[in-house]
């Protein structure tokens, strides 16, 4: 194993984006600053800049996701890249081809960048190590691997917080819900603590909060009302019922009663608290419609910022 961080090149630049863990505060701010420069591109007459002209981006989604795949596709197209979406479920993998054989074939077609989503934690790392060994100039972006990481979501979340709150060093941020299955929560925690947020809280039932979170500097609450008191930012997580095996929860109604975000519970937070959600939302399960559509929700801003953040990541990687 090489000793250096697998996503940085010899000059300390980002070559792949696999996880937020291990990125420096300066590098995260640099990515966010760059994203701010791309934000206006989507408002122009011509919603396109020529930076990635001639670059081939392959979206490899081994796990379904319309939203994330679409935002990566839009980001790549606004940079003038050529985008190929591979529907893996109906392709060679279903015929028995191994993951790395699939990658080798796509590299032989002169792919420059892979955007990978996979149900197995670590799959994008495996691909990045493989292309580093076999080809020098292919880039990998992790678009979500298992329960492990979803770094572009973490980056767009801190972009959103910086946009509305300006400064990280006086904030209380609460992450609420199904932390156990959430790669978003892990990426958010790493981003927030790296950026100097003094108090990161997670709130959820004992069955959906993994052990060891305190070692990441996080405060754990099981009572939502107690946990929301005085926070500046609430990040709601989607209840990932498709990942649940066994009796982790009594019912969606019971979950909503204890951990659903309602106006009444939100009133315990600071009055200028913003409400975030990575989508897709389960209304009436983790969030009430009155909050999701209310004045404190910045959920659609997250979507807009997500395009700019992904444009920034792609253009920084492509020329590292």
């Amino acid at each position: 194993m090489p000793s250096r961080h697998p996503q940085l090149n010899a000059h300390g630049e980002l070559k792949h984006l696999l996880t937020i863990e291990g990125l420096s505060r300066n590098l995260i701010h640099h990515i966010l600053d760059t994203a701010a420069g791309f934000l206006g591109v989507s408002d122009r007459d011509v919603k396109k800049v020529p930076l990635l002209r001639g670059v081939s981006v392959f979206n490899l989604f081994f796990e379904n996701s319309t939203r994330t795949r679409t935002t990566f596709e839009i980001a790549a197209k606004r940079l003038s890249a050529d985008v190929v979406n591979l529907n893996i479920n109906t392709s060679s993998t279903a015929k028995g081809e191994s993951l790395l054989d699939t990658i080798d074939n796509l590299v032989a077609m002169h792919a420059d960048m892979f955007v990978v989503r996979h149900a197995q934690s670590g799959a994008p790392f495996l691909i990045a190590e493989h292309v580093d060994r076999t080809r020098g100039n292919v880039h990998v972006i992790n678009a979500g691997d298992g329960r492990h990481a979803h770094p572009t979501q973490g980056l767009l979340d801190v972009y959103t917080i910086r946009h509305f709150k300006k400064d990280f060093t006086n904030l209380r941020v609460a992450i609420v819900g199904d932390v156990l299955h959430s790669r978003v929560a892990r990426s958010d925690i790493h981003a927030l603590t790296t950026l100097g947020v003094p108090e990161v809280r997670v709130i959820g039932p004992r069955t959906l909060i993994p052990g060891g979170l305190e070692q990441l500097g996080v405060h754990v609450f099981h009572d939502m009302r107690e946990g929301l008191r005085g926070v500046d930012v609430v990040i709601m997580l989607r209840l990932q019922s498709e990942r649940m095996r066994g009796a982790l929860l009594p019912s969606a109604q019971e979950y909503f009663k204890h951990y659903g975000l309602t106006e009444e519970k939100l009133a315990l937070a600071n009055t200028d608290c913003i409400v975030m959600h990575p989508g897709p939302m389960n209304r009436g399960v983790e969030i009430d419609s009155a909050v999701a559509d209310g004045p404190q929700a910045v959920i659609l801003d997250q979507v807009t910022f997500g395009i700019a953040v992904r444009m920034a990541v792609m253009s920084l990687l492509a020329k590292s």
């Binding site: 760059t34 420069g37 934000l39 206006g40 800049v49 020529p50 930076l51 020329k319």
Partner: protein
């Protein structure tokens, strides 16, 4: 150190624009190229009492050296506070050298619409053109070898100073 008097170059640029630009100044859109060009444009706008819309422009997205140098470390946004379609634009930059920045800046403008006219004003023309680009207004011409660079700065009152690196 340089013997170039950047303040008198600025005065010459200002006066040569004032001699040509008609009194209906509100029709002219002044657009500075980040960062030095924005400073020159701000000062021209004030000194010539131009009341038309303004803008600040980043050439980063259209640069032809992205493939070698990547994005600048401080990526700036383009802000054009007017309808580009049909506009009469005075594009302002501090130093005119190869012409590649001007080419990228023109492409950037056209991403927002089709202007009626674009003219170019520069504080210093240092020669060394690699593209067929010429300034309509120029403060001073001063040749500089390719391995040197002018670096413009301004103080709190907006006055310019220049060093050669």
């Amino acid at each position: 150190m340089t013997t170039l008097d950047v303040e008198s170059a600025y005065a010459h640029l200002r006066d040569s624009i004032a001699a040509v630009v008609p009194l209906a100044r509100e029709g002219l859109s002044l657009v500075g190229v980040h960062s030095g060009g924005v400073w020159v444009a701000e000062r021209l706008r004030r000194d010539l009492q131009l009341s038309g819309p303004d803008g600040a422009l980043s050439s980063a997205f259209h640069r032809d050296d992205y493939g070698r140098r990547g994005l600048p470390t401080d990526l700036k946004s383009t802000r054009l506070a007017f309808e580009v379609e049909g506009a009469d634009i005075l594009l302002v930059d501090d130093i005119l050298f190869t012409g590649r920045t001007v080419r990228a800046a023109l492409n950037e403008i056209f991403d927002y619409g089709r202007p009626a006219r674009v003219r170019l004003a520069v504080l210093i023309d240092r020669g060394g053109r690699e593209l067929p680009v010429a300034a309509d207004f120029c403060g001073v011409r001063h040749e500089l070898p390719a391995d040197r660079a002018f670096v413009l700065s301004r103080d709190d009152s907006g006055r310019f100073s220049l060093v050669i690196e």
